[in-house]
Amino acid sequence: MTTVFVPGDAAAVSVGAGEVATAFAAAGTRVVRNGSRGMLWLEPLVEVETERGRIGFGNVTVEDVGALAAGVSRRSQGDLLNQRGCIGVVDDHPWLAGQHRVSFARVGVVDPASIADYEQHGGWAGLRRALSLSPAEVVSEVTDSGLRGRGGAGFPAGIKWRTVLETGADQKFVACNFDEGDSGTFADRMIVEGDPFTLVEGMTIAAHAVGATEGYVYVRSEYPHAIAALRRAIDAAYTHGYLGRDVLGSGLVFDLHVRVGAGAYICGEESSMLDSLEGKRGEVRAKPPIPAVAGLFGRPTAVNNVLTLCAVPMVLAEGAAAYADLGTGRSRGTQVFQLAGNIKQGGIVELPFGVTLGELVEQYGGGTLTGRPVRAVQVGGPLGAYLPPERFDLPMDYEAFAEAGAMVGHGGIVVFDETVDMARMARFAMEFCSVESCGKCTPCRIGSTRGVETIDRIIAGHNVSRNLTLLDDLCETMTKGSLCAMGGLTPVPVQSAIRHWPEDFEGASA
């Protein structure tokens, strides 16, 4: 019987995929709820299995299902290819064919509920190889691959793991930061919804590498679909011996737990996340000690982002060199870029580091959804810089972005058209910080509130140049005096907006 794939991904469901899947099932079609291919502007993107490969249909509605289901049951490719929204063989679609998918290779392809499907598509090969190596050898592989933390800071994963491995303790932990709260990012969510076993495998490899017996995934409460997918995957992994008392007969003991956040943005900061996991207010800790030495419950803890851990199985399965061969400079491997905001073709683009910002926004993204010219893009989340189209030549590379006063961060790119008011966006950055600050340090807690007030005075045209000086001074205090990146980087969007669009800060809108 022909299989029809209808994504169960939250983004697809948000535009009607659930109703479409129900309609196919009612028509007697066999339906698999796969992840999303990441071509989000085409969701719900339905795929039909044929001899030529999986044929895709974009923006399918319940009304389209009858004709599609009839074509499927007659096994008539001619009927199918003439259907509304047909995009041909999905793997050959130029948007996908040009990408180099490593982390996202299985997302949208496999059935995320099927552990057998995962294994058939190369799953568990990394874990099997890791268990045949000593912990130190696994750490060396990860170090040699050049893999850097994908959560935004870009710290080398192998060095972090080595610290945990070499710190003596009665108990160690691995903790996955799945508190993906930055606007413009959804790759963590999509990989867990579409290929959850990869995270389980990556965390189990991490546990073996650093000597941990317990792991925690801290996932935000805004992601109920991902929580369900992950819990289902963990249950299946226990049943099949990939988690628990004796992983694959290797003697490795590893228990994996899911913990749900409660709507606090700051808990994406690793030390706040650890406090939250301990059942406390998510307040930032002063460093040192670093979590690798004294993390969760004071024990050595490897804290990694979802995408970092999801890259680990491939590094182990194919070897460090295969990963390090991709990328540019000190940015090795691939990065999962997320095109968001006012963009015609939003979604996931996974490519080796080095692709330019302009290629992503214009070629992959196709420009703005509204069709107006791009005025600004924000790269790397709410704490990332706003950049004008004049900087579209920038290669996506940690160092090149740092030189330009910006950051690649986790690869989220939010596009704004010419109607955006950059003084409003600067104000929002301060407002968001004032709402979400944990309150522990003064520059962040008070500074953000004073920042909103100062920008309000600038917008209203009061003493503009003196208030701009004051704002600059305030930004410097926040940058240098805050305990963590929230207060420390909130000035980045503010100051980049002032630098690139000074005309929006002349108080003319008063």
Binding site: V15, S183, G184, G263, A264, E278, Q338, G341, G346, M425
Partner: protein, 152 residues
């Protein structure tokens, strides 16, 4: 979520907290369960949870008040949560939020409209949830249609 008499409520909260006793850092899972099963976390619940987990009332209160998800009063009959983060702002979320807040009463009785920051649906904004269900590409018209069942 049901209305529970005070005495039963205390026993229920105690039972929920006791279920999590052998977990490390059990407070967050306990509060989530109380919030979900009883609709909100009131002052007496805080005291009960503190007692079961052997924490101070101040510690538990501190955690309840820190996180946006934990309610200290019963939830509204219906909730619309609209994303106001950058990616949704780029496609008109501010106007949608202002417009929806202004006409909350018109959507139905006991409707709460609140802001939320990012639902991870940033390529299909403006995003929001209607009684907990995620929707993308929202507009005033779409919200009217999604909430049509709320009006008598």
């Amino acid at each position: 979520m049901t209305t529970v008499p005070a005495t039963d409520r205390g026993a229920l909260v105690r039972a929920i907290a006791t279920q999590h006793l052998d977990e490390r850092g059990a407070l967050m899972p306990v509060l989530h369960d109380v919030n979900e099963e009883l609709g909100h976390i009131d002052r007496e619940d805080v005291e009960t949870v503190a007692d079961v987990l052997n924490l101070s009332v101040a510690d538990v209160h501190g955690v309840v008040s820190f996180y946006h998800d934990f309610r200290t009063a019963p939830p509204a009959a219906h909730t619309v949560a609209l994303c106001r983060a950058e990616a949704c702002q780029a496609v008109g979320a501010e106007a949608l939020y202002a417009d929806t807040s202004a006409r909350a009463g018109g959507l139905g009785d006991g409707v709460e409209v609140r802001e939320i920051f990012c639902l991870g649906n940033c390529a299909l904004g403006p995003s929001g949830t209607v009684d907990g269900r995620l929707h993308g590409r929202l507009s005033a018209e779409r919200l009217t249609s999604l909430t049509s069942g709320w009006r008598p």
